[in-house]
Symmetry: C2
Subunit: 412 residues, 2 copies
């Protein structure tokens, strides 16, 4: 291994999670302590902070506030959804990034995000190789959607899953309190992968969860859905349904699509309002009292219900990225491998080629979805359960969360 001394830049990208800052802390804390890393810069709003020369000097932060990042939701440095051009078509951004890297003596670049962010990370890595600028580039995984390729699971998923399962258990009890019955529909994030919607079935496995769960891995059939709901409502007098925001008809159109046509920066349809749309359809058909509940941002920032396992693994992913880079590794994303020790779940890091990971989505295996396409099977539960374990020691002030307060000192 060739020793490489220089500064590092760390950036956060894409939709935030409850624990993305735990990875930030893993990177920042490890980098600050490493003698080969001469300065630790945090990019404001991900790669945009590099392009705009807006870098925070993380060495100026109070170590106690930095440590609170483990329990602080959302992206403390700011995030972005910025699609990098193909460098062969337009290399403006890449030249600018190289300029900034040279200006600050940056030899390490750590980027924390999901599919699109790993694409950014991969493009930067390949460009630096092409122009012969020595810089070790490492991706740190993050996504509540749990859809990154090649890793057993993704940091952020488990805490959202725990939020969803716990909230479903609570709503289950609330939604059957009257003798008049109700159909309750819970809308859960996950555009193309049903990992989060499936997590609602944890609640059912523990006695208080949805009767029906619809994932985007299989086509949605409105008639079948209505007949499922009607049957259960007649049988039990109540019916609880969990749906992924990404459920779609056989022709690929999102069920929610009629509601909105806005798109995000990557051209994805902006989903939402599905729960009330389905609630209205059910009300019309059955006459039942209905309620649609969208878990919305709450499910991805609910740090108060974070999984301790998820927090520690997120930290570990950030730490591993720095340690591997210092040891000569580049052009990789940190991934997770699940193992067992004395019958107990353990998780180890592994390394994946950035080019393999970028833009590839991992979906729920079809044989983990039941034959009637309205629920998940036991292997899904067995997969998720170890990930949500553990209650973190949440810092509080007057019984309210005490989140990290960073100074964010801009590098001159």
């Amino acid at each position: 291994m060739r020793e490489l001394k220089g500064a590092c830049i760390f950036g956060q990208s894409g939709g935030p999670t409850s624990v993305i800052n735990a990875s930030a802390y893993g990177v920042i804390d490890t980098a600050l302590k490493n003698p080969n890393i001469t300065a630790v810069y945090g990019a404001e709003h991900g790669i945009k902070g590099v392009l705009n020369d807006r870098l925070f000097d993380m060495g100026q932060e109070n170590p106690e506030e930095l440590a609170l990042l483990k329990y602080t939701p959302s992206s403390a440095l700011g995030s972005c959804r910025y699609k990098m051009a193909d460098p062969d078509v337009d290399d403006t951004d890449y030249k600018r990034i190289l300029e900034i890297f040279k200006k600050y003596g940056v030899r390490y670049f750590f980027y924390n995000g999901g599919n699109d962010s790993m694409d950014t990370c991969n493009k930067i890595s390949k460009y630096m190789q092409k122009v012969g600028y020595e810089c070790r580039v490492m991706g740190v995984p993050k996504t509540i959607d749990n859809d990154l390729y090649g890793t057993d699971h993704c940091p952020g998923f488990a805490s959202a899953a725990k939020y969803i399962a716990t909230s479903c258990m609570e709503v289950y009890h609330d939604a059957r309190v009257y003798d008049t019955g109700m159909v309750c529909i819970i809308e859960i994030m996950g555009r193309h992968a049903g990992w989060l919607a499936g997590a609602a079935a944890l609640a059912t496995a523990y006695g208080a969860g949805p009767d029906l769960v619809y994932l985007p891995e299989v086509d949605f059939d409105m008639e079948q859905f209505l007949s499922d709901v009607e049957r259960i409502y007649k049988e039990k007098g109540n019916c609880m349904v969990a749906v992924s925001e990404g459920i779609h008809y056989a022709d690929g159109t999102f069920v929610s699509e009629a509601k909105t046509s806005a798109t995000d920066g990557f051209g994805h349809a902006q989903l939402g309002g599905l729960a009330s749309l389905l609630a209205n359809v059910v009300k019309e058909r059955t006459g039942a009292k209905v309620r649609g509940i969208e878990l919305s941002l709450l499910q991805r920032c609910g740090a108060h219900l974070a999984s301790e396992t998820d927090i520690e693994e997120s930290f570990m992913a950030g730490k591993a990225a720095v340690e591997n880079a210092v040891n000569g590794i580049t052009d990789k994303m940190v991934g997770f491998e699940r193992g067992e020790e004395d019958g107990q779940y353990v998780c180890r890091t592994k390394l994946l080629d950035l080019s393999e990971v970028a833009n590839t989505e991992k979906k729920v295996p079809l044989d983990w979805i039941n034959e009637t396409h309205n629920g998940v099977k036991q292997p899904f539960i067995d997969y998720v359960l170890p990930l949500i374990q553990g209650e973190p020691p949440l810092p509080k002030q007057d019984s309210l969360p005490r989140f990290a307060q960073l100074k964010k000192v801009l590098v001159k």
Copy 2:
């Protein structure tokens, strides 16, 4: 005091809360241990369970499961929204209740609920007095709305307030993660009283909460609202708003009213969908990215964020109802009185006439609302803060809630 031996009936009524079962446990546990109470019956779905002769024998329950009621959200026995007729117009229901009371030797009746439930409780109490049937009737307060007359605060309010404040703090961080800005509107329960919407300001007091808070105690002005939002969005690049579901124009019509015309059993308008309505109006006016979030049922069943103070006080209210009744008191509701001991908040029970409490609403004092009608003042914060204190020892199984599982053995 005349000693009175007999059975007791306990019922839960109205919208559930995170901690209504803590009051149930206070009544049931205290009654089961009292030698003057010969049997403890739980009414299925409140007063409907009495009318339908559906009573559970609480003595048959496993004491360990009963103890879990302290941490189990929603109404474990089932609730109802049932409006009792004026007994002078139609005494059918009252005759039936008397018949059931006589059948089971009932001499104690405890009813747990809000305004409407205290009306039920009061009517039953007065009827029993009129027909000369000796029965001690006690109301146990409950409402997240915190609008019961004569009591410093109501069991259930603080836990919902804590859920709202914590969720607002988390969403605050999530909703400002991008450099593109966003207007985020959080819809909070509370039809006529703004206690819960005001609780969102706790988040602001701790550095991460809404810029604007709108309560139903004052008239809502859409133009003023839009100009408030525009101003803050321009200043800060982001704007977070908390609104009560019950905000209304000067002529009394609910802002949400255009969205739905369904009504609940008491003739109240069924509210909901206000957040997305306002988000759309803001989007049209400002062009900003918007998101409407309805906290929906989550805020009233989020037992995982319950206030330990609220749980213990809810238990205390149930216990006090039984102890007072056994000591000869009747026709009262248990209320709370706030005091101070060594500079610390303390709460003591007091007794209020049922007829005083029934159907009277307590609203947020106007001088606790700011002059611009878009926020609350420090006395509001000082009022709420002591109530949300303390983290209860939540029973868990595999890191998911372990709620009470009652056998619910019907009395033959």
